[in-house]
Subunit: 377 residues, 2 copies
């Protein structure tokens, strides 16, 4: 059985909504805008000593911890499409995808900094929405927004977030620690965020063909939430602690399972054997993929943006995870570096290639065309 991770935003989606009031960004000026967007922020985390308002944030960490730092940049028109991504959701997602990198090290996130560049197409109210979403994510994950920069851009919206966290010394999990015969495990389910994107892209086409048409999004709540408001698996890090489980290697699934397992294999100098019938796919995502004439396994392998954790454990730790619905053992690590194989449901062997999303390739949907399977030997 797959775990359910339903989210809790009130309204999942609205197309092209506009707030009624519009205050121009220049009315507040740069300093006024930063102050306006961040003045209600208070520091919750004991490691946050000084937040926004000085030249740098001041943090004070325990001597037993190592500090983790990760950074990501999201660009309008490349990583998100404001036609269907509400700014509140976008803010939430932008924070979550960064925190996910901290959890992928076995750590806990404690602070973020947020820089945004924004064109005058955006109003102050639009940025407020973005910050509402970011603050929601900060509250949910107990992270403080301690710094940032707000500037103008010549086109569109760019969000750059740096996440900071800690991990107890000796407990960090790198990509490079996997050992031969270690089990390959993934959390949650895969491919749903990608199907959410397919749906939004389809309805956008309809909307562009007939402006005013209402999108038909009913019945796909789970996939839309996975795409528009993903969650990061902080809960899994807590579980590891409870289970006394130390993964040997770990990565988060942002670009797609195929791409991530190759990263683990490369970093650890090993190969991977993966079983198609073990891929965790939510039944509704499976059905939806079929309806869209897509191969559900290809969506799970290459879809990306699941923000699940992919990790390896020693076989002797199998008992610790076998009863949990949160974990799926999908394969194991093999001796031969660079040999990444998928065993399909007919027990045929296919070579896996990285079909994960590449920021410099313009087409993404085509990459995952069912007629062009990544698993082709």
């Amino acid at each position: 059985m797959l775990p359910t991770r339903r989210n809790s935003f009130n309204s999942i989606i609205y197309f092209c909504t506009m707030t009624e009031k519009r205050t121009e960004l220049q009315d507040l000026g740069e300093f006024g805008l930063i102050r306006h967007l961040t003045d209600s922020i208070s520091l919750q985390n004991p490691t946050s000593k000084v937040g926004i308002g000085d030249d740098a944030a001041v943090l004070d960490f325990d001597a037993e911890d190592e500090v983790l730092v990760s950074t990501d940049m999201l660009v309008e028109g490349v990583h998100f499409d404001l036609t269907y991504a509400p700014l509140k959701h976008l803010g939430y997602k932008a924070v979550v995808v960064n925190l996910s990198d901290i959890y992928a090290m076995g750590g806990v996130a404690s602070q973020i900094t947020v820089s945004i560049a924004v064109s005058n197409r955006f109003s102050t109210e639009a940025l407020e929405e973005l910050y509402v979403g970011m603050r929601l994510a900060c509250e949910r994950y107990q992270v403080d927004l301690v710094g940032g920069d707000t500037t103008s851009s010549t086109s569109g919206l760019i969000i750059s977030i740096t996440a900071i966290g800690t991990v107890a010394k000796g407990q960090r999990v790198l990509r490079s620690g996997a050992k031969e015969k270690d089990l390959l495990v993934v959390t949650g389910d895969l491919g749903s965020a990608y199907m959410g994107l397919q749906l939004l892209e389809r309805e956008k086409q309809v909307f562009q063909g007939a402006p005013g048409a209402q999108p038909n999004l009913e019945g796909y709540d789970y996939q839309l939430e996975r795409q528009l408001k993903p969650e990061a698996r902080k809960d899994i890090i807590d579980m590891f602690n409870e289970l006394g489980l130390q993964p040997t290697s770990m990565i988060d699934v942002s670009d797609g399972l195929a791409s991530e397992l190759i990263h683990l294999g490369e970093a650890s100098g090993l190969g991977v054997q993966l079983y198609e019938d073990k891929l965790p796919i939510d039944p509704s995502t499976f059905d939806m993929a079929r309806e869209f004439n897509l191969d559900p396994s290809v969506c799970a392998l290459s879809g990306g943006e699941d923000y699940e954790l992919l990790f390896t454990i020693s076989q002797s730790d199998y008992d610790k995870i076998k009863a949990s619905p949160h974990f799926s053992v999908i394969g194991y690590m093999t001796e031969t570096k660079g040999a990444y194989y998928l065993i399909d449901k007919q027990e045929k062997v296919h070579e896996i290639t990285a079909q994960g999303w590449d920021a410099f390739l313009e087409k993404r949907k085509e990459d995952i065309d069912p007629d062009k399977q990544p698993a082709s030997e």
Copy 2:
């Protein structure tokens, strides 16, 4: 006498140079590009445990230190103009301006992360130039590049840098610590970077009027270097330690002296009395401002991008700095919050307003028109 801080790039400036070879960004792909740009980077700082190549960097700080984090975003067409800013210089400057924020807390920078978004107008060779400049700054300031993100943009180049550093507990210098009657001190000299920008803008106009025309930049080396390849005042932090001097408040001069001293006054709940005849202006910058029909004092007050340190000290500490050519006492803190006054050379009193650069105001040159002095009561 003003200290000289001449820089050492071999060629200061070249207009619209193009590298001969051109490798398209998509030829390497996202992961290949990051690897290509960062593969020669090795970690020098003992606090850097894991750098680029995992989900997050791993850092290990001393228990006696607090951690400082600062972030800045630079946008093409807003913060820099590639018509005259060579990419190598731009990379160097982008790092330096971030480090400057760490020094402004009384700390020492140890790591940076760099995210860039770049359109396909740029070649791989162009990005290599940018990274050469960033690496030069890292070497010069003994900072490790430990993480980042590289992605495509729909237009232009955006650079987001997060700087991380440390300060011994009890030694951080906030903006808010100034006391009444504290002396207001600035390092180095002011206004030169702004004059460098004026020159570059003038020659750009000439160039655009007559493509192929060679820019006339001779005799302005200092101003060009201050604009195109500024340095951050790490040396001053070292001096504070040697002198046993603990400033009561501090900020770096990025947006302009007027703007920064108002920040110190606001944060500390005090006023400022400033003396025009104490403003440190390099003689060549003074002459150049006159030649450009600008008021040298206005350039020093409002020009910005000097990356000097502005700080306050207790009067009892005056003896520690009085003999040094690096420091100019330019005024003192007064009791009345919000009262910022300039005493001009004729001993007339003017109110100071923040004329520092505002990212959301389009015009910048006009702000500093000699006919429209910021000091007008």
